[in-house]
Structure formats: C-alpha cells, structure tokens
Assembly symmetry: C2
C-alpha cells in the first residue's frame, strides 16, 4: 500500500448515527523450505514521511480493498499471489491482532493467514523493486530482525503454531513438491522441528495415516530409487492420533 492511497478513519458527523471504524488489514506469513532451512517471506516497508515504519521488513499484506476482495481469505490469496506468483497452496487462518496502538495511523485490526508453499513453485515478484521482497531463514535471521508493527510477535506465533501442528499433522507435505519420497518428507519434518526423527517409526506412521498415494519411482535423486508419493487430498492436512515422540 503506497503513500498515494492512505485511508482515513474519520467520519462526517451525521446525526448521532456515526462512529469511527478501525482499519482492516490482512497479512500473510508465507513459509517455505529453502536450502534445508525453514524460511519466511518478508517485504520492505516503503519509505516516505507519511509511511509507518519506513524501510523496515514486514509481513506481506495491507488494507482490505472492499471493492476487490470478496472475503478475507480471498484477500489473503490475492496478496500471496501478488508476492510469489503462487495461486494454489495450503492457506490457514492464524488469528487476528487488533488494538489502538499497533499502527501509528490509528486503531487497526489485521487478519493473519499462514501459507505453506514448496520452494520450486515460487516465482518472486519481478521488476521495479524486487530487492524489497526476500526470504529469511527463520532460525538464523528472524530473531535478530525486528519487524514493522507487531509483526515480530505475529511471526513468533506463526512459527510456534506451525511447529506445534507439525507434531501431529501432515502439514510438512505441503512444503515439498510432488511427487516426493518418504525420506524427503521426513527431512522436511526434521527441518521444521529442528530435531531428528526415527526412520521406521516415521514410515509406519505416515503410511498408517493413509493420506499418501504411490506415484512413480524417483530415480537419480540418490542411490537406491525411492517410492514417490502424492497427497490423496491436497485440500486438508491429516491429523495423527499421537504426537511425534522423543
């Protein structure tokens, strides 16, 4: 949202029938796995006197456009596509943050979604200011980067939620391009969780959950060819009856 189009939350007095409205925004926490690391996409805030947090890194997002966005989720999908070119991905609502102080321009509430996309599908925004969109390693760079608004806190919540759900869901399957082998999937689990997992237990667990369908053998990626799998249903993750152990 550039400086040319600043919203105003003051109303004309109109009888006794008016009051001020908060700003409504949508932000997206976009996760992917790049080079064996869990990463998120950040964008740089525009510079300018009227801009809040100019030059700071922030979650991609912005004001809901009531003339374009039919729903909040459609708005999130639009913002995801604008930054990554990815149109289909796993998208889940993370929650909402709202209050008087989180945006210097006034009372605002943001609806936050988080997306999981396979690295291979990404076509980062090109052109004018491509340098202002970048991937950040969650473990290496995120803690030492303070983001605009309350986005540091939102991001922390998102990472916490992702890690917690990975313990008992098939979510990491949305981070790896199909078809994938079980060892590849296991590696993603390990990267997200930051710890190693037992191989045989992992295999039985995944196959018992019955959310994978066999595809083609994957040659050339390692020594012995591995069975390639696809998701039976890309619209929803599977819930396991137990957490991962150890």
């Amino acid at each position: 949202m550039s400086a040319r189009k600043l919203p105003v939350n003051k109303f004309p007095k109109q009888g006794r029938a008016t009051f001020r409205l908060p700003f409504t925004t949508v932000d997206v926490v976009i996760f992917s796995v790049l080079e064996d690391a869990l990463c998120i996409l950040l964008v740089r805030r525009p510079s300018g006197d009227a801009e809040p947090y100019p030059g700071k890194w922030a979650l991609p997002g912005g004001f809901v456009n009531v003339d374009v966005d039919i729903t909040l989720e459609a708005c999130a999908t639009r913002k995801l596509a604008e930054k990554t070119g990815v149109s289909t991905s796993y998208l889940e609502q993370l929650g909402s943050w709202g209050g008087a102080d989180r945006d210097p321009r006034g009372w605002s509430a943001t609806h936050v979604y988080f997306a999981l996309i396979p690295a291979e599908h990404i076509q980062l925004e090109r052109g004018a200011n491509a340098a202002d969109v970048s991937w950040f390693d969650v473990d290496k760079f995120v803690n030492e980067t303070d983001l605009a608004f309350d986005h540091s806190s939102i991001l922390a919540t998102a990472v916490e939620r992702l890690r917690s759900k990975v313990e008992y869901t098939s979510l990491p399957a949305f981070l790896v391009p199909e078809p994938f082998s079980l060892p590849q999937l296991q590696r993603v689990y390990e990267i997200v969780l930051g710890r190693s997992i037992d191989k045989s237990g992992f295999r039985t667990r995944m196959l018992a959950a019955d959310f994978l369908v066999e595809d083609v053998y994957l040659d050339g990626t390692s020594n012995r060819p591995a069975m390639g799998y696809r998701l039976r249903d890309r619209s929803m993750p599977v819930l396991f009856p137990r957490n991962l152990g150890r």
Copy 2:
C-alpha cells in the same frame, strides 16, 4: 448495538487519499455445561427497520468501540462480562470471518472468541430484556435454530474446535467449578464429546499430565467421598501427547 448508533462506512472524498473501511465487530461463543448438556449463550437481535436480522438469535457481540476497547481481546472480555457477569474465564480466539455479504449493512469482518465458564459462576444479564439472553443446548436446539448473519456457521466451527481440542487438552477443566473430583471432570469430558470414556485410563492420563493439585475431599456429593482438585495454572490448558482413544 442498538439502532441509535449505526455506523456508516462511507467516506468523504478527500483528494485521492481515501477509501472505504469495513466494519469491525467482535463476537463471543460462550460455552458452559448446564444440566449435563453442553450449552452456548445466545442473544436476540433487536427489532427495528434499520436492524439486520431483527428478532433472530445471534452470538453476543457487536462493533468494536475504538474509544473504549484497547485491543480485540479486551473488547471480547467486555462483551462477555456484559452478558454473563463473568470477568475471568478461559478465552481463546477462534478466528475471524469477513466479507462483502455477511452483513447487509456492508463489508464487515468479525473477530470471534470462545469462552469456557463454569455454570455456577454465571449471573445472566438482569433487567430490561433478560428474556433476550438465553442458553441453548448445543445438541438439541442449535442445529434447528438458524442464527443471524453467518453465526450458524461460526458456531459450528466453534463446536468442532472445542470437541477436537477436548481430545487432547485439559479444556473441560475450565467448564467445571473448583474444587472438582476426577469423576466430575470425566463427566464433563463425556458430555462435550458425546461418548463415554474409560475410567482407569482417564485417571492415569489426567494425573500423569500433572496439571491438577489436590485440594479437599468432597463429601456429600456422592456415596464415597472423592478427592477434590484444583488447577495448577488457570491461565492455560495442558496438551496431552495423545488423543483420547475410542
């Protein structure tokens, strides 16, 4: 929110620096267990020509008041207290619903929380129109009652979320007044889930999770006195490593 104070989402044209803002509301799904049934609190929409869904039952909630509410959660707490007199309870964000069509007055987004309160703490709103606030048995009446706005859908999501989390958390402990016995707690689990649970497994599970502290023996509630427990930490539920079994 009565008809005397209707918000307007039209802005004065002011250079090229304005656009319309969505309405921002907060709704609360208030759960309790009354007479061995999982219930939620609903309020009746006011009647009047300018009112949407006049006379229909709806979730308690309304517009965020930027002059009063510091945060969304504070707003939810306020609305909970206004309807029930309960000031402390378990309160969790459920999610947000927003779009062009969910409110006939215009583009709106609601931030929904859900609260768990013990029946004994409740002092329903008295006075003027107490008949317009009422408890509904989730299983008996809710499916056949169609609520205002998209509240039926929101409520369904809330029930689903509660039931799903009860499988692996100590959430039902927030629905029963302290001190409580393990059989009492188990009964609440069974009421929420709608199925019976094995006694011995339940006990080991609860005690192993180490979130209960022994209080006083509860005499007179049944034949044999039962150990009474309190929560070690009322601020957070405990997560179990496994779901409840069949």
